[in-house]
């Protein structure tokens, strides 16, 4: 897939090529070239299947990295595209016009990370977290353990010592 990368690298300013297996390559693309690159890959190079969209929170660098994986069925190749956006202002173009299923992925990322996809239909509908009023919970600066200890009541630990009890029950002569 190196030829494909070289072919597209100047037009779309791709950087950081990586290849783990013969059919799986990764590259990084800036946010403003994203939609045109995805359209070009889908229409001209046969990557017709959007496998998934996901997000990584680089807290130390202050960036979100959104990952798109495209798949080419005729040549059995995966192309992994990574986009970095600023953590304070995470806005990305919505690709629901290219693939309808992107609507669902974008809804989930909006709920869990707080990413904005302007124009995506139904992005404010809650998916898993009905009535959630806190910060987006998958961000790394959200302390889920502290939140759950404050919000929910926990059962006190039972000091039952099962090992000692079973030993006394089964092998009393020891």
């Amino acid at each position: 897939m190196r030829q494909l990368y070289d072919q597209l690298k100047d037009t779309y300013r791709l950087t950081e090529y990586g290849e783990r297996h013969p059919g799986q390559a990764a590259a990084q693309v800036p946010a403003e070239r994203l939609t045109s690159l995805l359209t070009q890959l889908r229409d001209a190079h046969g990557f017709s299947h959007l496998v998934l969209m996901t997000c990584v929170d680089w807290l130390e660098q202050g960036q979100f990295q959104v990952t798109y994986i495209l798949h080419n069925h005729t040549r059995r190749q995966d192309f992994i595209l990574k986009v970095r956006v600023d953590r304070a202002h995470p806005v990305l173009p919505s690709i629901h016009t290219l693939w309808k299923q992107a609507r669902v992925y974008q809804r989930e990322l909006h709920e869990m990370f707080g990413l904005e996809f302007p124009g995506s239909p139904g992005i404010d509908e809650p998916m898993i977290l009905e009535s959630w009023q806190g910060p987006p919970p998958m961000r790394r600066d959200f302390d889920t353990r502290k939140f759950s200890e404050e919000r929910y009541s926990h059962r006190p630990r039972s000091h039952s010592e099962p090992e000692a009890r079973m030993k006394e029950q089964l092998y009393p002569e020891d």
Partner: protein
């Protein structure tokens, strides 16, 4: 055991809308204004037992014909499927799976309970009739289990609905679930499985706990 009087927290007069009959009526506070008097506004009441001989016979019939609500709330729903197959066969014990809470007596809380599921569990539990029992399987229902530090699951199910039997495991094997059902049958025949009356007595405490975690309460206060 001494039967307590009902503990009723009355609605203060200043907050009552004009259709509320007396201080024991529920205000259905989660619903919009025009729908509030469409839904049931009576509190759940204690159901009294009858004479001892009749009650013993009825407990025997209840224990030998437990109908399970076919609502798989979490991973524990997987454990219901082998029970119905030929190897463990709960139909020889008289149990069958019913699709509606109106006809079911046992609610099997299988596994973790997220907030979205808790709302539906409360709604289904309140629609069940008669002496109703809850069996909670898996460690997530006991103390949160694998999700003990999660922001979206509750850790103690018995603060929201009354539970009769806990079965430990992650998942428990079908034999363990059957042992739990045997314990439930023993409790029913001794007359100790009175979750419905506990819910009616401590209704305000349960409801306050539920409303504390379910913040978008858009259903009646008591779903008949």
């Amino acid at each position: 055991m001494p039967e307590d009087k009902e503990i009723v927290t009355p609605v203060p007069p200043a907050e009552r809308p004009e259709w509320v009959k007396d201080e024991r009526t529920l205000t259905n506070s989660g619903l919009p204004e025009e729908e509030r008097d469409w839904f049931c506004d009576a509190r759940p009441r204690r159901a009294e037992k009858s004479w001892r001989v009749v009650e013993n016979f009825m407990n025997w019939a209840r224990a030998h014909s437990l109908w399970i609500l076919a609502f798989g709330t979490g991973c524990g729903a997987i454990e219901l499927r082998p029970l119905v197959t030929a190897r463990y066969d709960i139909s020889r014990l008289g149990m069958q799976m019913r699709p509606t809470p109106r006809q079911a007596s046992v609610f099997l809380i299988g596994g973790y309970v997220s907030l979205k599921t808790l709302k539906r569990i409360v709604r289904s539990y309140e629609q069940m009739q008669g002496p109703k029992f809850v069996v909670a399987v898996c460690s997530c229902a006991i103390n949160g289990g694998m999700y003990w530090d999660s922001y979206n699951t509750i850790k103690r199910i018995d603060e929201y609905i009354p539970v009769d039997v806990y079965v430990t495991g992650c998942m428990p094997r079908p034999e363990a679930v059957l042992a739990g059902f045997n314990l439930l049958k023993k409790l029913i025949r001794e007359g100790k499985a009175e979750g419905q009356n506990l819910y009616a007595d401590k209704f305000d405490w349960f409801k306050a706990n539920q409303k504390q975690v379910i913040t978008d309460w858009n259903m009646p206060d008591y779903n008949w």
